[in-house]
């Protein structure tokens, strides 16, 4: 019997005291995305085939970063419940060469005004990108990946505090 399952997928959950629509807006609207995580503005054309661009923050550009950090395409947009897209880190040439990965956001409303946000990132053939997103490059100043992004998203929505200064 084969009990080995090889997976390169990363799965993250976070419970946030916020309505699904608030979480959806925070993920898809630039005025929100610049207030948590890496602090860049995200641009979404929220329909299948629509373009996605994750821009660098002003601070990153001041240090010589290009304008676009991540690019991709919307596969499915079902506000405020589910967003499926492709996702490619283009700031670093090695990661850009790894090509497009597949990212899914799922938002489910729970009791007491709490919603559960699940991030499923399928990273087959993208080991460098996977390392970055798992926070393995934090020592090198590359940030803490998804757990850092989701932790700061929760803090922003629940307290209004932004980690990004």
């Amino acid at each position: 019997m084969n009990t080995m399952t090889e997976t390169t997928t990363q799965v993250y959950n976070v419970y946030i005291k916020a309505a699904p629509q608030a979480i959806w807006d925070a993920i898809t609207r630039p005025e929100w995305t610049e207030r948590f995580g890496y602090g860049g503005r995200s641009e979404y054309d929220l329909r299948p085939g629509g373009a996605y661009r994750g821009l660098t923050s002003e601070e990153m550009r001041a240090q010589g970063a290009p304008e676009v950090a991540v690019d991709g395409e919307v596969i499915e947009a079902d506000p405020p419940r589910k967003l499926v897209q492709t996702w490619r880190m283009v700031m670093n040439s090695d990661m850009a060469e790894e090509g497009f990965t597949r990212l899914t956001y799922e938002i489910v409303e729970r009791d007491g005004g709490v919603s559960k946000l699940t991030v499923v990132h399928e990273l087959e053939g993208a080991p460098d990108t996977a390392g970055l997103l798992a926070g393995e490059m934090e020592d090198q100043g590359a940030g803490g990946g998804w757990s850092f992004v989701l932790s700061s998203l929760k803090t922003l929505l629940e307290t209004g505090d932004s980690f990004v200064h």
Binding site: T9, Y12, F148
Partner: protein
Amino acid sequence: MANDDLVFRALADPTRRFLLDRLFVRDGRTLTELESELDMTRFGVMKHLRVLEEAGLVAARKSGREKLHFLNPVPIRLIHDRWIDKYTERRVSALTELKSELEERK
């Protein structure tokens, strides 16, 4: 607050820390795989996984007929961001204050 309690309680057990270590090495494992590395009944491992899931430290996803278990580091990150960062900041400011105090004495 209640969630932090669940996280600390889940971490206060060597078997559960072992399970998290195994998932850190490689994610997306089935119960059968995890069970094969422990000298424990299937039911016992299931119980531990349930505690880890309730604390949000393990995320489970269905893949076909299988249930795969993933390490979810977000709750630990939240504790880090809420507590550890705060203490680091305080230590840094304490050092800065000490430095200026020493310089003033000169």
